[in-house]
C-alpha cells in the first residue's frame, strides 16, 4: 500500500505542478462559458446589416418595417424596374416589391436579390406583412385591433412537483434539463480528458523504458493503480476548484446585481384539501409568483429547487466510478502499443460506449424516467453519463443502488482484465498487437 501511495504522490504532483494544469483550471470554466455563449454571439454578429429596399406601390406599408440588428429597411419611391438596377451596385441586398394588388392577392408579392435571398430576411418580412394584412382585414371587417390585443393571453403553466413527503414546489424542467446536460457532458469530458492522460502516462513509461526499473521494485498492478488513482485525484482536484470558482463567481455576480436575482421563494397559492385562503392573501401570493415570472426569476426558482448535495455526491461517485472503469482500459491500451499512432485500433471499444452515451443524451432528457434512460443508466459503460443526466430530475433509490453496484463491479472487472494485459504489455516491444494477442495475455498465468 505504501508503494502505491508513493506512486500516487508522484503522478499527482507531477501533473498539478504543470503550467498546463494551472492554466486549464483557471481557463476551463471560462472556456466552457465561452463555448456556450459564442455561437449566439457569432449569430448576432455575422448577420448584421442585411439591407432591404422596399418598393410599395400601395404606399400602405412603409411604416410597418422597423430596422432591427439584422435588417435595415429603406423605402424607395421609385418604380420597381429602376430599383432593380440598385441591386447591381450592391446598394441593397434585396428589394421587396409590394404591388398595388398585394392586399387582394398576396401571391403577387416579390422579393428580388442577386444572390439567393437570406432565408431569415424572407421570413421576417413575411411575418411583418402577415400581421399588417391581418390588421387591415380586421379593420375592414370592423374589428378594432386593440380589442384583439386585449384578449390575447400568454399562458405559462407553472409546473408543481409533489414529492414523496407530499411537499409541493414549483418545478422548472428546463433548469433540470440544463443541469443534467451539464453533468453528463462534464463526466464525458472528464473521462476522456483524464483517461487519455492515463494512456499517455503509461505509454510514456513504456517508451521511456523506465517501466522495467519500476516494476523491479513494485508490482505492475501497483504501478497501474497508482497512476490511475493519481490522475483521478488530479481530475477531482480540478473539479473541486471549478465548483469553488463557480460558487465565488455566482456569489460575486449576485452581490453586484442584486435586483436581477431578486427572488422570493414561492409560497403555496392553492393547496388542495387545505382551507381556502382569504382573497387578499391569495392575491398577494399571486403577485409574488408573478414577480418571479421573469426569465432570471424562473431560473433562480429552478436552481433553488435542485438538491445540490445529491447532485454533487452523484457527480463525484459517477466521475470516480466511470473514470476508474475507463482509465483501466486506457491503461491497458497504453501498455499494449509502442506509440501513440497504434492506439487508434484499440480506442474504438472504449470510445463507442462513451460517444453512444452522449448521442443518447437528447432522448434521455426528453424522457428521463423512460426505459431507455433506465437501461442506459444501469449498464456500467453508459451509466456515468446517463445517470448524471437523470439525477437532477430525481431518480428512485433502487435505480441508483443498482446502477452504483454494477458500476463498482464493472470497474473491478475492467481493472482486473486491464491489469493482466498491462503486466505483459509494458515489457513487450516491437510486436504487432491485435485482439487475439490481448486475449492470450489475459489468459497468461
Amino acid at each position: 500500500m505504501n508503494k502505491i501511495s508513493i506512486i500516487i504522490k508522484r503522478e499527482y504532483l507531477s501533473r498539478t505542478k504543470k503550467k498546463s494544469f494551472i492554466v486549464m483550471t483557471i481557463l476551463g470554466p471560462l472556456l466552457m462559458a465561452a463555448l456556450m455563449v459564442a455561437p449566439a454571439l457569432i449569430a448576432t454578429l455575422s448577420d448584421t446589416d442585411y439591407k432591404i429596399a422596399i418598393v410599395d406601390d400601395s404606399k400602405l406599408f412603409y411604416t410597418a418595417f422597423e430596422n432591427t440588428n439584422q435588417f435595415t429597411f429603406s423605402p424607395l419611391e421609385t418604380s420597381i424596374d429602376s430599383a432593380k438596377l440598385l441591386l447591381e451596385d450592391r446598394t441593397y441586398d434585396a428589394i421587396l416589391h409590394i404591388p398595388d394588388i398585394a392586399f387582394q392577392s398576396p401571391a403577387s408579392l416579390r422579393i428580388f436579390s442577386q444572390r439567393s435571398v437570406n432565408v431569415e430576411a424572407k421570413s421576417h418580412v413575411e411575418t411583418i406583412l402577415e400581421n399588417e394584412f391581418e390588421g387591415l382585414k380586421l379593420t375592414v371587417k370592423g374589428i378594432d385591433p386593440q380589442i384583439l390585443m386585449a384578449v390575447e393571453t400568454p399562458i405559462n403553466i407553472s409546473a408543481i412537483r409533489i414529492d414523496e413527503a407530499g411537499q409541493q414546489a414549483a418545478d422548472h424542467p428546463e433548469v433540470r434539463t440544463g443541469l443534467g446536460f451539464l453533468g453528463g457532458f462534464m463526466i464525458y469530458m472528464f473521462i476522456f480528458l483524464f483517461g487519455s492522460q492515463v494512456l499517455r502516462g503509461v505509454l510514456e513509461e513504456k517508451t521511456n523504458r523506465i517501466v522495467e526499473i519500476i516494476v523491479s521494485s513494485v508490482k505492475p498492478f501497483q504501478l497501474m493503480m497508482g497512476k490511475i488513482l493519481g490522475v483521478g485525484l488530479v481530475g477531482l482536484t480540478q473539479f473541486v476548484i471549478w465548483v469553488v470558482f463557480t460558487g465565488i463567481l455566482v456569489f460575486a455576480v449576485r452581490s453586484a446585481f442584486p435586483d436581477v436575482f431578486a427572488f422570493t421563494p414561492p409560497q403555496e397559492v392553492y393547496a388542495p384539501g387545505a382551507e381556502s385562503l382569504n382573497p387578499e392573501l391569495m392575491q398577494e401570493r399571486l403577485d409574488a409568483a408573478a414577480a418571479n415570472n421573469t426569465f432570471a426569476g424562473e431560473i433562480m426558482e429552478g436552481l433553488a429547487a435542485i438538491n445540490y448535495p445529491v447532485v454533487l455526491l452523484a457527480f463525484l461517485f459517477y466521475f470516480l466510478g466511470g473514470f476508474l472503469l475507463y482509465a483501466a482500459m486506457f491503461a491497458a491500451i497504453g501498455s499494449a502499443v509502442d506509440n501513440e499512432a497504434d492506439t487508434q485500433q484499440f480506442m474504438l471499444p472504449v470510445t463507442i460506449p462513451l460517444i453512444f452515451g452522449i448521442v443518447m443524451m437528447q432522448s434521455v432528457l426528453q424522457n428521463p424516467d423512460g426505459p431507455l434512460a433506465f437501461w442506459l443508466s444501469i449498464i456500467p459503460f453508459t451509466s456515468p453519463i446517463i445517470m448524471m443526466i437523470r439525477i437532477p430530475f430525481g431518480v428512485p433509490m433502487v435505480d441508483v443502488a443498482l446502477s452504483a453496484t454494477l458500476l463498482i463491479l464493472g470497474f473491478i472487472a475492467t481493472t482486473w482484465l486491464a491489469g493482466k494485459i498491462y503486466r505483459t504489455g509494458i515489457l513487450m516491444y516491437g510486436k504487432k498487437i491485435d485482439y487475439a494477442e490481448l486475449w492470450k495475455w489475459i489468459r497468461y498465468r
Binding site: 508503494k3 507531477s14 523506465i210 522495467e212 526499473i213 523491479s216 521494485s217 503486466r423 515489457l427 516491444y429
Partner: protein, 325 residues
Amino acid sequence: MDFLFKAEGVSKSYTGHRALTNVSVSVPKGSIFGLLGPNGAGKTTLIRIINQIIGPDEGALYYGNELLRPEHVHRIGYLPEERGLYKKMQVGEQALYLAQLKGVPAAKAKKMLKEWFEKFDLLPWWNKKVEELSKGMAQKVQFIVTILHNPDLLIFDEPFSGFDPINVNLLKQEILNLRNNGATIIFSTHNMGSVEELCDHIALINKAEKILDGNVRDIKRNYSTNIYQVELSNLQQPIEQLHSTRYELLKVIPHNGMVTARIRAMNNTEPNELLKTLLPIAQVNTFSELVPSMNDIFIKTVTGKFPQEGTDYELTAHGNSYLSE
C-alpha cells in the same frame, strides 16, 4: 559453497516459443556471476524472473536459504538493459522517487543520493530535468539508483552499453568495490572481454537452455589446449628434435636468430616439464600457454567449434603469461 541465489529447473514459455527450459543456476555469495548467451537466448527472461517481474511456469527460486518472496525486491538492485528515466522530471527528485520505491525512507535516501551525486560529479544537475542530461550522465544516475538501497544482490544487464571508455572504467571499479564490500553481482552480457576481467563464475545460456556453467578458471582449464608458445634464442640444437611422444611441434617461425614455436604438450605433461626440457637447449625469452579466450569458448559452445579451428589452430592470443618480460 554458500549461495545467495539459486534457480532450480526454471522453465518459462510464451505463446509460440520457449524462453527458458529447465534452467538451474547457483550464484555463489560474494561473487561476480556472468550470465552469457547470444541475443534472444533467454537471459533477460531469467533476469526478469529473478526480479519477480514475471513468474516462471515451473521451477523454484531461492534467495539465500528461503524461497524467493516479494519482499526480497528490497534486497535486489536491477539495472535493465533498456533503461530510461522520466524525461520531464528533475534528476534529484526522480532518483529520490526510485529509491523510495525500493523502500529507502525519503530523508535517508536524499542524504545518500547527495553523496553519490557528489562522487559522480552529478550534484550540479540535481535540479535539472532529465532531458538535459547526456546519455552517459543519465546512465550514472541509473547506476546510483540501482545500488543506493545497498542490495545484497545486484543484477546488471549489459551495464556498459552506452558508456564511454572512461566511464566504463569508473563503473568497473565501482562494481569491483561493491563485490569487495560483500555484494553479489549477476552480470548479463555478450561482451566477453568484460567477463574475463570481472566474472568469477559464469553460466552460458543458448536457445533457452543452460549449456555451460562454473568457475571461470575451471572452465578455461577444461577448454585448455595444452599448446604453449615459446620464443627461444641461442638454440643449441634444432628445435625439431623436440618431437616425441610428449611434445608435438605445431609451428616454427625463425626470425632474427630467434625462433617462435608452438608446442603441444601431450600425455599430461605439465608446463614446468616443457620448461625443464627447453632450458638446457636454449634461452627462453617468453613462454605462454595458448588459452582459449571466453569469447572462443562462448563461440565453441554455441556453434560447436572454435572460431578459426581447422585453419591453422590460430587461437586468439589471450595467453596466461608464465614469464614476465
